[in-house]
Amino acid sequence: MSIRQAPALTTHNRKSTMAQQPETRVSATTPRLHVAHLAKTYGSGGKARTVIEDLTFTVDAGEVVCIVGPSGVGKTTLLKCLAGLQPASSGTAAIDGRTISGPPPEMALVFQDYNRSLMPWLTVRKNLVLPLRHLKLPAAELKERCDSALAAVGLSHADNQYPWQLSGGMQQRVAIARALAYRPEILIMDEPFASVDAQTRFDLEDLCLKIRKDFNMTILVVTHDIDEAVYLADRVVVLGSRPARVLRVVEVDLPAPRDQITTRSLPEFARQRTDVLSLIKRPA
């Protein structure tokens, strides 16, 4: 019996380091990420342009939430506010009740354009190491983090190559591996699979679900692909455009584990994607 229990224990330990102090997490009723009446206006006076007007939604710990909306709706602006790259004009975004005022330490971001988010002068492994340098980790842990992150995205063989030597899908996997090695509690992805081919896209979507399961991360994905949103998410936040506002939060109750073929062929899947699509298609 004790032999069978040992691996389970290891997994548990590993998870707790991944998620960094899950015990101190606020009780399940308090959302991990709370966006309240968030608004963003660029410029002022007559030239003012309101991109986001009054967004409110929450993301619970361990949840995958997708944000969908028509292109140009201000999804990227929203993410920049959440990542602390831009201040909100009014309203707040908070993690565990703490208002975000700069890049939060427990968060990692995977950018839309892998082409411009990886350092072309660094090899894959050194790209992973760069964000970890200031954490002053012991060499062994640094190596272990990179090794396991690369293994998770299936790129262990490519660690000495440069990003530009890899295909688009592989580059995006490097960007995801960099986020994993950072061991964030909250992972935010901005249209992460927009510029890869369909097959790679399915693989990366499943990778995203695997990350949530293995690393117990809270994941927020911005996408314009409704099928993708329904496939990935526990909940879908549907945005309306100009200025952006929440049209509805759709609960997705598709069974886990999800599978590209069986899940997508469920009648329930079709019904949910139709729900979301009709929300977006409807003239505002």
Partner: protein, 259 residues
């Protein structure tokens, strides 16, 4: 790909060799005092530079060139960073830079002669100051064109300010910095010779000018030949350095072109 490279190498070295051969035969029986036979020029070249004046003049010139260029490179990159990253520095020195860069570098030499005199110091200062501008301006441009996405990545992953400068901005701006350094090197070379011609009795430039003024045409040609050889070798060295530092950039560009 490989064959093409070999072909280019053959053409690249073949043409200069062919020109030299043509020069050799066309000038062989020349009695014109200003255009002596190449054979005479090469003889004087050997007598003068290998190795009679090598230490006293060639090494002196090269020492000034490298010292001046090194000062210009370090100061140019450092001040370029300060200008691009610290707005008050930009407001203070931007107009001044654009005024000074408009003055042909060689025109500064007489000023330095009056200010500092004829010594090595004057020559190194002239070289450094003239070579400074191209590197500095290229550095500023390089930093300004670093993509916002890359800087967002640096901020999200909470890189320190030092890491952002040394591990993101510097390598990202390096291709442009090297373009600036290349121009700086050429300017340094020009000013090295000009400073010697205008205010010195030592160095390759001084020797060459002296030869011209004393109607020693073969010596003059030998000096010019030496300058050509040095310029060529210095550029090759620079190319090797660039290839090493920017291997990622050269590789990615080649791949992008092939695709």
């Amino acid at each position: 790909m490989r064959n093409l490279a070999i072909r280019n190498l053959v053409i690249g070295t073949g043409i200069p060799v062919l020109l030299l051969v043509a020069w050799w035969f066309l000038s062989a029986n020349s009695a014109d005092p200003f255009f002596p036979p190449l054979e005479t020029i090469l003889l004087r070249f050997q007598e003068l530079w290998l190795f009679d004046h090598f230490q006293s003049d060639v090494l002196l010139s090269l020492g000034n060139l490298f010292l001046g260029f090194a000062i210009a490179a370090v100061a140019g990159v450092a001040l370029g960073f300060a200008t691009a990253l610290v707005p008050p520095v930009r407001w203070m020195i931007d107009p001044l830079i654009h005024f000074l860069r408009g003055i042909p570098p060689v025109a500064l030499v007489p000023i330095f002669i009056s200010l500092i005199g004829f010594g090595t110091q004057m020559r190194v200062t002239s070289i450094a100051l003239a070579a400074f501008f191209p590197t500095m301006i290229a550095t500023v441009d390089g930093i300004r064109s670093v993509s916002n996405d890359l800087m967002d990545v640096a901020r999200v992953y909470r890189l320190s300010r030092k890491e952002r400068v040394l591990n993101v901005l510097l390598p990202a701006a390096m291709p442009q910095i090297f373009s600036g350094l290349q121009v700086s090197l050429q300017v340094a070379f020009i000013v090295m010779i000009a400073s010697e011609m205008l205010g010195s009795s030592q160095g390759i430039g001084a020797m060459t000018l002296l030869a011209q003024q004393s109607f020693m045409a073969a010596d003059m040609w030998a000096g010019i030949l030496l300058l050509g050889v040095i310029g060529f070798l210095v550029n090759i060295l620079f190319g090797l350095l660039r290839g090493k530092v920017l291997s990622w950039y050269i590789g990615s560009r080649r791949l992008a072109r092939a695709a």
